[in-house]
């Protein structure tokens, strides 16, 4: 606490609450959403194909899978942790699922259940290792990033796995009242995650642990349990996005979702999550994922070199985080 913060505490009412109000109306997500809308308008102006049913449906399908991965990544981020293994887990889940169907002749339901159980176990191990063994989650999940991708390549022999039942892709490309089924599925998973984070004790404890793990312990929160749940959810959402990728492409690919952990984390951060923990929302993740998907789509439509696209995305992350810090520092000065 510096001198400045102390002196104003004698009459804290007015200025603090004024700024509270401003902060209420304009969280970071609002600016990112505005930016996304701006990009949509620009693309609609510069590309005749952008604002067509086919393209919008494509964007909605693409953002669905990315957003589910980002939702999952948010849980560990809220804890001030991180899960770098979600892309590899998605890839491994796709391989296990498609091999169970194509090679082992199992039905979709059995394959689904087995894959989800494997995903949950991976997540629980991640959470347990980072909390109980005291290994930083960055390291635990970095090992997972390599290890699970390796496992996916080993199991599949590095080859894609075809022979999915046609119904799977049909589902992935289907729509309900012109809204892609994948998008509806994403909404359902998003709502579930939002509900958990915003309305349940478990969710609140995730924010509490991310804010101050010692105070969480002192009030008797079962920190290990909450951490394990968070990483299990990250892995579960990664597994689901892996399965949806298989459905969409109608095949399992061991290299699927490579590098997507960073896109997922970037979406969460651009959507207002703090890597220092305690902050972040599902809506923010969705907006972040939508912005990145839109940029990717627009770059394709306008024929922008995909290397440039990476540079643009990098600049965007740097800008948004800088902007957020700037806002916070200004706030600290005032309030």
């Amino acid at each position: 606490m510096g001198e400045g913060t102390l002196s104003k505490a004698q009459e804290p009412g007015v200025r603090v609450s004024m700024f509270e109000g401003l902060r209420h109306r304009l969280p970071l997500e609002t600016y990112v959403l505005a930016l996304t809308v701006l990009v949509w308008i620009l693309l609609a102006v510069f590309s005749k194909y952008f604002w067509t049913t086919g393209n919008i449906t494509d964007i909605l399908r693409q953002v669905s899978i990315d957003a589910i991965l980002a939702f999952g990544s948010l849980f560990p981020i809220v804890l001030a942790g991180i899960d770098l293994s979600v892309g590899s887990v998605a890839g491994l889940a796709g391989v296990i699922f498609s091999m169970l169907i194509a090679d082992a002749g199992q039905g979709i339901l059995v394959a689904l259940v087995v894959t989800v159980v494997v995903g949950l176990i991976i997540g629980m191990v991640n959470g347990w290792a980072s909390e109980r063994l005291g290994i930083p989650p960055f390291i635990v999940t970095l090992a997972g990033l390599q290890g699970y991708r390796g496992l996916a390549l080993l199991l599949s022999g590095g080859l894609t796995i075809a022979g999915m039942p046609p119904g799977l892709q049909k589902f992935a490309l289907s729509s309900v009242l012109h809204v892609p089924s994948l998008f509806l599925l994403m909404l359902a998973f998003g709502l579930a995650a939002h509900f958990l984070l915003a309305y349940t004790r478990t969710g609140r404890y995730m924010y509490a642990i991310g804010s101050n793990i010692e105070s969480a312990r002192r009030v008797g929160i079962r920190v290990t349990l909450v951490v394990i749940i968070s990483y299990a959810l990250a892995s579960l959402y990664a597994t689901i996005s892996g399965l949806l990728l298989v459905a969409r492409l109608s095949m399992g690919a061991p290299t699927a979702a490579t590098g997507s952990e960073l896109a997922a984390i970037a979406a969460a951060v651009v959507g207002g999550a703090s890597l220092f923990g305690g902050r972040g929302t599902i809506l923010g993740c969705f907006i972040g994922a939508l912005l990145f998907t839109t940029i990717g789509n627009g770059a394709n439509l306008l024929g922008v070199n995909s290397f440039w696209q990476m540079v643009i995305e990098g600049l965007l992350i740097a800008f948004v985080v800088y902007f957020d810090n700037l806002q916070k520092r200004r706030q600290a000065g005032l309030g």
């Binding site: 606490m1 913060t5 102390l6 002196s7 104003k8 505490a9 004698q10 009459e11 804290p12 009412g13 603090v16 609450s17 700024f19 509270e20 902060r23 209420h24 509900f195 309305y199 349940t200 004790r201 609140r204 404890y205 924010y207 509490a208 991310g210 804010s211 101050n212 010692e214 105070s215 969480a216 312990r217 002192r218 009030v219 008797g220 929160i221 923990g277 305690g278 902050r279 706030q331 600290a332 309030g335």
Partner: protein, 248 residues
């Protein structure tokens, strides 16, 4: 009637270092007992036993006459022993209400089966509580990170008050505060005592100690060397005991 809290013959060493050599202490309901002593005298070690952070090598802790085991902070809390820590143990990103209710949120059931946090009740109770302690904390503050040091102490104290703590330990609660805020926190300590809470108050500032406390215990090298009513002592006497220059 038995005192609210009694500590008897508490012994603790960390490896080869003996920190507490058989400490006795008693605290009555509705009193502020100050604990003073130089750095390393054992004040923090002593209260961390009561708060469930450390386990004693020997000795007994009794609450309302009954021997109790206080082996975790959770157990201490369940027994009605709350600690307001020097390092402000609040979850920064959570609201005032969420902090007061952290770990004990009221729950209601959505559609009759989905347990969710009753945020409306938390807000109402928090408003009433802050009004009760006459705090100037904006009750709708979205995160306590934007509150001043004194306001954060007040949140911790309000938490203890709300949960009907029997014993509240305040570990240098004013160490990082400006003068005006210090007065407010001292007022809150007296307020707790007037509601029948037993308060153990650790501090360095003797003027403040003599203002807030009913009784003062002086620790020196792991022992309580002097116990007096606050009105029957003065700074010079306390310093003498704190530094060991008692002429003996």
């Amino acid at each position: 009637m038995a005192p609210l809290l009694e500590v008897e013959g508490l012994v603790k060493s960390f490896g080869p270092v003996d920190v507490l050599h058989g400490v006795d202490l008693s605290l009555a309901a509705g009193e502020v007992l100050a604990l003073v002593g130089d750095n390393g005298a054992g004040k923090s070690t002593l209260i961390k036993h009561v708060a469930g952070v450390y386990r004693p090598d020997a000795g007994e802790i009794r609450l309302e006459g009954q021997p109790v085991r206080v082996e975790t902070p959770g157990q201490a809390r369940a027994l009605g022993i709350e600690t307001v820590y020097q390092d402000l143990a609040l979850a920064d990103e959570l609201s005032v209400g969420a902090n007061i209710f952290l770990g004990r949120e009221p729950v209601k059931h959505l559609f009759g089966f989905l347990p969710i946090i009753d945020n409306r009740r938390i807000r109402m109770e928090t408003d009433a509580l802050l009004a009760r302690i006459e705090s100037k904390i904006p009750p709708r503050a979205r995160s306590v990170s934007r509150l001043s040091g004194g306001q954060r102490q007040a949140v911790s104290i309000a938490r203890a008050l709300y949960w009907r703590a029997k014993v509240v330990i305040m570990d240098e609660p004013t160490a990082a505060l400006a003068v005006m805020e210090r007065e407010h926190v001292i007022g809150l300590a007296r307020r707790l005592a007037s509601e029948g809470v037993g308060v153990i108050y650790i501090g360095h500032n003797l003027i403040e100690i003599l203002e807030v406390a009913d009784r003062v215990s002086v620790m020196y090298r792991g022992r309580i060397v002097h116990m007096t009513k606050a009105e029957e002592t003065n700074q010079q006497e306390l310093i003498k005991y704190m530094t060991g220059f008692t002429g003996k």
